[in-house]
């Protein structure tokens, strides 16, 4: 039983270097092999982006790590505890230390946003008074960037972007150390996506989170990810920073980062960085030149 754990274990933060360690993971669906001997380590305090073409098993990897998908072989350790071999009760000791944001938000549709946030609180800490629980739900919703009156709304009354934020508030309900985000910016408009990226980064810094982030969004990768893991050929073929990855000579990586969209995202980021140093003449000059080039391109069209 989780209650029988000695009390210090319930609030000690993980101090090791790698909160998530995946070794030799094999996932098979019938004849089809999704992962074959996949290895991955996530560093504490980093935002790890996970990219890969459609069908390379990004979501399956996440589901394996959080224990929703039982792998065919291999070992997965979260906070030093094995997820694959753990008894269900033992996994409980890990469940209250991570938060998961599913692709569609996965909010419980019969509960309001505030009640959604209260569900994990009720589940793990029933001793918290109702008053404090309401307060916690309220500030988590505000922390996730929703207006305060969203607390009493039902998920069907929210837009797609707000649903994701509400899902994030529920994922953050227990002050987790580990946050899983499954394509958080998919389906958001560029402004909403950029705001969500900023929010992720801010939360990671204030709350000291480790973030496992599945994404297709090149801007997200450039802006907030410390490292990026690339899934291809049923394995993680590389884990590194974006500039280092772009040096690699793998056809998929080249296509991904150096394709038209990849280059556009890179240029946008370079411009952003240059703009921060406008006091230096060379930077100002470069920005002007690039802006002119863009304008000329538009005219040509």
């Amino acid at each position: 039983m989780a209650d029988d754990l000695p009390p210090p274990e319930r609030h000690e933060r993980f101090r090791g270097e790698y909160p998530i360690v995946v070794e030799g993971l094999v996932n098979k669906f019938g004849e089809q092999t999704i992962h074959d001997q996949l290895d991955l380590k996530v560093k504490r305090g980093e935002i790890l982006g996970v990219v890969g073409g459609s069908g390379t098993g990004k979501s399956v990897l996440m589901r394996s790590i959080i224990g929703l998908q039982i792998p065919s072989a291999g070992e997965i350790k979260v906070f030093g505890r094995s997820i694959t071999e753990a008894e269900p009760d033992e996994v409980l000791g890990v469940r209250d230390r991570w938060g998961v944001l599913f692709q569609g938000g996965a909010l419980f549709s019969t509960l309001t946003v505030g009640e959604n946030v209260e569900v994990p609180l009720n589940q793990f800490y029933p001793e918290i008074s109702e008053h404090l629980r309401h307060e916690i739900a309220r500030y988590k919703v505000v922390l996730s960037g929703l207006p305060e009156n969203a607390v009493s709304k039902y998920p069907s009354e929210l837009s797609g972007g707000m649903k994701k934020r509400a899902g994030l508030a529920r994922a953050l309900a227990l002050d987790p150390e580990l946050l899983f985000l499954d394509e958080p910016t998919a389906g958001l408009d560029p402004i909403g996506a950029a705001a969500f990226d900023r929010l992720t980064l801010e939360l990671k810094e204030t709350l000291g989170l480790t973030v496992f982030l599945i994404t297709h969004d090149l801007d997200t990768l450039h802006e907030i990810c410390d490292r990026v893991a690339v899934l291809a050929d049923k394995k993680v073929i590389a884990v590194d920073t974006v500039p280092n990855l772009m040096e690699l000579d793998h056809p998929w990586i080249q296509e991904y980062f150096n394709g038209p969209r990849g280059r556009a995202a890179l240029t946008a980021q370079a411009l952003d960085e240059l703009r921060q140093h406008m006091d230096r003449p060379i930077a100002a000059h470069a920005v002007k030149a690039l802006d002119k080039a863009d304008a000329a391109k538009d005219k040509a069209k």
Binding site: Y125, V142, S152
Partner: protein
């Protein structure tokens, strides 16, 4: 000591007291001290966080709200605590977490009014649906090439063929029960042989078709509602419309037609198995040989009893499938509706069938098929 959140109020030298918090202030430990901290009636001007070993947003929230409530100042906060408290700025109390719930006195009349209003709208909705169905049927008759025979055959298999085992078993058992219970009562008049009349007439006229209709409502009416409802949610129905396919023609007509065609067949099959069930009991318990039972049926049951059952069957099929398709096409917004509409499809389907059956009973008696 370590592992528990604690607090203490120190009287300071300069008049202002200090609330000193110590230990971990985390979501896992806060439950023990929160009530006590809230109930604190001592005044203090400082909240000292320097002894706090660990803190998360919940601890920071509690410290912040204590400080605001007592007009105190926070001292000794670690970098992390300061960062957390800064992030929490801008949240206020006030907004209720649950949606507002009206008073009982208001809720009851409101619910009744809604039911009445929805009842009227539901009636109009069914009429509209029936109209759209007739228009679609007219279109199909004028352009027979648009008729989807493949979908019809597929639905006929689902509604009819795959229902054979369960309908057969159910009717067989009903035949057994009627024969056995009837024989016990009839034995009191020494009229056990009339069990044959009882089983034959009641299954052919009423129970065979009625029970089949209830089974089809549970099996197929619910399936229609759930399938169409899910297709509406995933925008498949909208996609069909944009391509120029009428969902009425492609989805609804094959289903309703399949139910109308299969119901008489299933009903006849149900009557036959029920009579066989009765004959088995007759053989085992009453000493009427199996074949004699079946020959007696021919003699004591008038042919119009069979027509009574078979005329009702397609009408029941229409009602049940209409309820399923109507509620399926009415699904909107969220997945909860699919479950709700499926339940309503089955309930209204069965209810309508039983009401209609009563009308049929009166009608057939009046026309002399008693």
């Amino acid at each position: 000591m370590d592992g528990l959140a604690q607090f203490e109020v120190d009287e300071g030298a300069d008049g202002g007291a200090t609330l000193a918090l110590s230990g971990p202030y985390l979501i896992s430990t806060i439950g023990g001290v929160d009530e006590d901290l809230r109930g604190l009636d001592r005044e203090f001007s400082k909240v000292d966080l320097s002894e706090v070993s660990e803190i998360d947003t919940v601890g920071a929230w509690v410290a912040c709200s204590l400080a605001t409530e007592h007009n105190a100042e926070i001292v000794g906060a670690s970098d992390r605590a300061q960062r957390l408290m800064k992030a929490l700025e801008g949240s206020h109390e006030g907004e209720a977490v649950s949606a507002p719930r009206a008073q009982l006195l208001q809720r009851v009349p409101e619910a009744i009014g809604e039911k009445v209003y929805n009842g009227r709208r539901g009636f109009m909705g069914v009429l509209g649906f029936l109209g759209a169905l007739l228009v679609a049927a007219g279109n199909v008759i004028r352009h027979p090439s648009r008729f989807r025979s493949l979908a019809l055959v597929r639905q006929m298999e689902l509604v009819g063929v795959s229902a054979l085992p369960i309908v057969g078993l159910m009717s067989f058992l009903i035949g057994v029960v009627i024969a056995q219970q009837g024989a016990v009562q009839l034995a009191q008049f020494g009229a056990e042989t009339l069990t044959v009349n009882l089983v034959g007439r009641i299954t052919l006229r009423e129970l065979g078709v009625l029970m089949t209709a209830i089974m089809v409502a549970g099996r197929s009416g619910s399936a229609f509602a759930a399938q169409l409802g899910t297709m509406k949610l995933t925008e498949e129905v909208d996609a069909m419309r944009t391509i120029g396919i009428s969902p009425m023609e492609a989805l609804v007509i094959p289903r309703i037609l399949a139910a109308i065609i299969m119901m008489p067949l299933l009903g006849f099959y149900a009557c036959a198995t029920a009579i066989i069930g009765g004959a088995v009991i007759g053989d085992v318990m009453l000493g009427i040989p199996f074949w004699t039972f079946l020959f007696r049926i021919q003699e004591v049951v008038p042919t119009y009893d069979l027509w009574v059952g078979l005329i009702k069957a397609p009408v029941f099929g229409l009602i049940v499938s209409l309820a399923g398709c109507y509620h399926g096409m009415k699904v909107e917004n969220d997945s909860e509706q699919v479950g709700l509409r499926t339940t309503m499809a089955v309930v209204t389907g069965i209810f309508a069938v039983i009401v209609l059956d009563a009308f049929f009973a009166v009608f057939f008696t009046k026309v002399g098929w008693a």
